[in-house]
């Protein structure tokens, strides 16, 4: 088992609020890790620290062999933030071309890659449409394409399928599973239990700490719950990790 990411003792405080309280995390290569937690549990803070956008007050993280933040890993990192994070006045293709330039991707490669991504997220028709005129769900799909454009080895997805219909969500998850089988490591935050069950491993973040971790089946067995939602409620009520 090869680790893509290893974080130890991550702490981060914003004024009165302790966003992360000594968090440890390991991500295995080629696995999908799902992070579940309420709003304000610290999910986005954790992603921002791991991506090198935020410095932790304490603790450290290593990713793809380098201590975070490191310029050396940036080209291998994919990140889809919660917000749309696209240029609304540019077309879908122009957005992709711009980010392709930042990753030094040749124009031809961007075009090919965009075509295959558009097929997965069903955006072929909209490729020349201005992003601002697309629906929220479509914009999120474009955002996902931008995050995957440069074939990153480690991908962070912050609520990637909000506003995306069930059928398309399945298609996106199938693609994520394909990526994982090609040794890409995926870290995803979600509110949807349907998505959580598709992860190889899930963790429950509660008040800046990982309350529990395991495969979906392990969590169900440990808590004796029928659904993951029920399992998380039990774990949160206990307030301590049952592992």
């Amino acid at each position: 088992m090869e680790l893509t990411l290893r974080a130890q003792g991550l702490k981060k405080r914003f004024k009165e609020r302790q966003a992360l309280a000594g968090l440890n995390l390991s991500l295995e290569q080629g696995k999908i890790y799902g992070l579940i937690g309420h709003n304000g549990a610290g999910k986005t803070t954790l992603i921002r620290i791991l991506c090198g956008l935020l410095r932790p007050d304490e603790g450290e993280a290593h990713m793809l062999g380098w201590r975070v933040p490191s310029f050396r890993i940036q080209s291998q990192l994919g990140y889809m933030p919660q917000e749309i994070a696209l240029y609304p006045d540019l077309t879908v293709m122009q957005n992709l071309e711009f980010f392709g330039d930042l990753y030094d991707l040749p124009k031809e490669q961007v075009r090919e890659r965009a075509s295959s991504l558009f097929e997965i997220v069903r955006l072929q028709e909209q490729r020349h449409q201005v992003v601002g005129t697309l629906s929220g769900g479509m914009q999120r799909r474009v955002s996902l394409c931008v995050s995957l454009l440069h074939k990153p080895r480690m991908i962070f997805l912050d609520e990637p399928t909000v506003g995306v219909d069930t059928k398309l969500r399945r298609a996106i998850w199938e693609h994520l599973e394909q990526l994982a089988s090609a040794d890409v490591t995926i870290f995803v935050t979600t509110h949807l239990m349907e998505e959580a069950t598709r992860c190889h491993k899930i963790g429950l973040l509660y008040q800046g700490q990982l309350l529990t971790e395991g495969t979906p089946q392990e969590l169900l067995t440990r808590t004796g719950a029928k659904t993951l939602e029920e399992a998380f409620t039990i774990i949160e009520d206990q307030g301590v990790s049952p592992r």
Partner: protein, 405 residues
């Protein structure tokens, strides 16, 4: 009543935002104080080089003792009569040198008194006023105008590149001549005594003079607005996060912004110059390449200021507030509309803290006076230093933006 509810809500929100409250209370004060302090003064310490060859002697005819020579030293008296607060007098022996100093902007005027100035002036006065009684060696004698027609002219060479300064200079010189003539009981008009030459033949009007400053001001306003709002928008929309997660170094992102907005500023400068030149016939004698260079270097610095401001601003509205706070002093105090020389001395050092002052000065030197690159090295040097410092600080702030995005 619903309107009242809307209005009340506006007041409630303003009351909760200290920045907006400060903007409402202090911006008008800032405007009027700056205006009062910056535009209150009149020009002071204007350098004037005096080449005094007057031997001070006058040969006059008298009724009683024939022709006598009296020592009047009228040129010295003239110099003493000048207002030494407004004019800073520098003495020189060489009028060519003095004129050259005026031409290169080191002095506002050069004034030359010929050798026979005292002699010619007193005789010219006598010719106009008729015989006059004077005390000579304890004896009252009557002096008569001489028959000659010697020219009493003092020659003035003026820098008329600044229409706000020139009237002050002329007025000071005329006043001193009037005082001198009143003392000699003459009735000559001062203009008769002065032969005036100027560097630009009175071609520079107030419109010409303010044009470079207004161009600098317009570019400052537009560039800072555009940059701050673009960066704040990049940050709030999340694209800045994507940009900084990509293998892009903060300096590359900063430099990209600087390049884009400096090129936009160049385009705008060309627009402004073409309209001023062809529509308003603004005096323009300089090399456009130097203008482009000044604007390029200056706007690069402005990007830095804008990037720093965007770090402070959480949203577009706050950005506008910061822009106002930075822009008002720099516009009021950088000599756009009022010459720095006319500002109160305690305000002047503040004016020289604003990069716009250097940009204005350099633009004016090139546009109005046709100065070369070697003549504006000081201004360009300061602007380049400002640009470099701002580049470094803006890279730092880009890093911070990444962490706080």
């Amino acid at each position: 009543m619903k309107s009242w509810a809307v209005a009340k809500n506006v007041f409630r929100r303003v009351g909760k935002d200290p920045r907006t409250l400060a903007l409402i209370i202090f911006t008008p004060l800032l405007f009027i104080l700056m205006y009062g302090y910056s535009f209150a003064g009149s020009p002071k310490h204007l350098k004037v080089i005096i080449v005094n060859e007057d031997n001070g002697l006058a040969s006059v005819r008298t009724e009683q003792v024939g022709r006598i020579t009296i020592e009047l030293k009228l040129a010295d008296k003239f110099v003493n009569a000048l207002n030494h607060e407004t004019l800073e007098i520098i003495k020189s022996a060489n009028f060519d040198y003095a004129q050259k100093q005026v031409k290169i902007g080191q002095a506002w005027a050069a004034l030359s008194f010929p050798k026979n100035f005292s002699h010619a002036l007193i005789n010219a006065a006598l010719r106009m006023t008729g015989p006059k009684e004077i005390t000579h060696e304890g004896q009252t004698i009557r002096v008569l105008p001489s028959e000659g027609n010697e020219n009493p002219l003092a020659v003035v060479y003026l820098d008329d590149g600044n229409p706000f300064i020139m009237p002050t200079l002329l007025q000071e010189l005329s006043q001193a001549f009037s005082n001198l003539l009143a003392e000699q009981q003459g009735a000559l008009k001062p203009v008769n005594l002065l032969e005036i030459h100027s560097v630009y033949n009175n071609k520079i009007t107030a419109l010409d003079y303010t044009a470079p400053g207004v161009i600098g001001f317009a570019l400052t306003l537009i560039t800072i607005m555009l940059t701050v709002i673009s960066i704040v928008r990049e940050r709030t929309s999340g694209t800045l996060t994507r940009l900084l997660i990509a293998p892009v170094r903060p300096w590359e992102a900063s430099a990209g912004y600087m390049l884009a907005f400096a090129l936009i500023a160049l385009f705008q400068a060309a627009e402004l110059l073409l309209v001023s030149y062809y529509l308003f016939h603004i005096h323009f004698v300089g090399n456009p390449a130097w203008i482009a260079l000044i604007i390029f270097v200056y706007t690069i610095g402005l990007q830095g200021v804008a990037t720093l401001l965007s770090t402070l601003a959480r949203n577009e509205f706050q950005a506008v507030q910061y822009i106002l706070v930075i822009l008002i002093p720099s516009i009021m105090m950088s000599g756009v509309f009022w010459p720095l020389e006319a500002m109160p001395p305690q305000i002047q050092p503040i004016a020289w803290l604003s990069p716009l002052t250097y940009a204005n000065s350099a633009l004016r030197e090139v546009m109005l006076r046709g100065r070369e690159l070697s003549d504006i090295t000081m201004q360009l040097g300061v602007l380049a230093g400002f640009a470099l410092l701002m580049l470094i600080l803006s890279v730092q702030s880009m890093r911070r933006q990444a962490y706080s995005a």
